[in-house]
Symmetry: C2
Subunit: 260 residues, 2 copies
């Protein structure tokens, strides 16, 4: 059979829809572009639905285990078509459609170290924070309504595969979730520039949650009100704030090291 | 006099040259776009050479002190011309040419907390690391040959004005500089994934320098060999590395808090 070359092919049309958040949510799927990202996701246990690739890519990467173990899921298309569909400048002739894994609220809340993200907007920040959370030792992540989609390709790239490493739930109403956390005797910490409590003066004890807020506006008040302890990083040199990813990293590593 | 509208105007030609690294170095100048960036730089003491702006911008921002105190340095151009010249999508009708401040090696080396950056390539990382260094309390920055230009507009934006807050020298041969640092009895720490010394097991004492290396390749061996102590951050959850800005932030805050 010839490689698909038409952008109007029904399978290609389905693929293209997944570049929109709305369809990713509707179908429970998302997209990965490029050898490195797909390989990492596969190794981390991602559930691959199908793979669009060129014959040339297949010839050069036959020994790649995500290809060997998904032989029935390969859809051959031309190089030109991949380039036309892909978001990345250099998509390396391969795009995978991956099924989102659904975690329950109970799975996420049963952990000792939970990261809660309230309306993070920048895809790079979101991906970096997820990657840093896994590296620090956080065990699950809760993402509020109104955040950037974690299945956005830019988030997936910045997270370097970390999104596949731990249970995550999204579109969560965090003020409601806090009741569940309190029932689990979680201490809820909140990063907040308005407090006088410096993060390195506190003693942390697990089980705990840490809330990080929006890059410009911080954590919404109704959520901040549910926190047990607000905390901030002392800034010198007339700097008003840190990059959200850097601030989250400093807090997460300190908390884990203190309480592990 | 009418606002300049020709891209061939000699002053506009000079301005456009400064979008290239080579000319920035040659002229000892660089560019800032937009009200917020220019205001921040002015407040931090930046030496403004001249300001290209539209009449409309002037009318709406007459009370801005960087305009009041630089009346003789204003060059009026059309909105269209600014948009054509500017790198930013929404340059807000103002571009400032700023004179680079030259610091001597002695000024930089005489500090208790020195950050040394070896071949950082990504402008966003460079800007974030500079901003974080100032916030942590580092007092000077050394930038190696082969790094991204700190007067690149993307670096300036990510640094949020922090480049104007402390002495910096660039295009430095770091292996040679280390002799000077040793003469000042500096302890030189190096972030290095290959060591077994975790950063939170060490005791830090000033005066000290911290070296951070390239995002992909780390610190070059000839420089690493000059360090007194290598150190790394313990990573959990199968993550191989952190974002360079996050890693630098975690190390810098820990070091300052331990030794201040």
């Amino acid at each position: 059979m010839d490689d698909i070359k038409s952008i109007k092919n029904s399978k290609v049309k389905e693929l293209r829809k997944l570049y929109k958040k709305k369809y990713r949510k509707e179908k429970g799927q998302f997209i990965l572009e490029g050898l490195r990202l797909i390989r990492g996701a596969y190794q981390a246990g991602a559930d691959i639905n199908n793979i669009f690739l060129s014959s040339q890519f297949y010839q050069s990467n036959k020994t790649e285990s995500f290809l060997i173990n998904n032989e029935d899921k390969l859809i051959f298309v031309t190089e030109q078509l991949i380039e036309r569909v892909a978001d990345t400048k250099n998509p390396q002739s391969v795009i995978a459609v991956v099924n989102q894994i659904k975690f329950t609220q109970d799975e996420v809340v049963a952990k000792d170290y939970i990261l809660i993200l309230d309306q993070i907007q920048d895809p790079g920040n979101m991906g970096t924070i997820i990657r840093t959370a896994v590296a620090a030792g956080f065990q699950s992540i809760v993402i509020s309504k109104g955040s950037v989609d974690i299945f956005n390709l830019k988030v997936l790239r910045a997270s370097m595969g970390a999104v596949f490493c731990l249970p995550m739930i999204k579109d969560v109403k965090i003020d409601e979730l806090t009741k569940l956390l309190k029932a689990k005797e979680q201490t809820i910490y909140a990063a907040d520039l308005e407090t006088d409590s410096y993060y390195n003066d506190l003693k942390y004890k697990k089980p705990l949650s840490l809330i990080i807020g929006n890059e410009a506006h911080g954590i919404r008040k109704k959520i901040l009100d549910r926190a047990d302890q607000r905390t901030k990083i002392q800034l010198r040199g007339n700097i008003e704030s840190l990059n959200a990813g850097v601030a989250a990293g400093i807090l997460m590593f300190k908390i884990l090291e203190d309480s592990f």
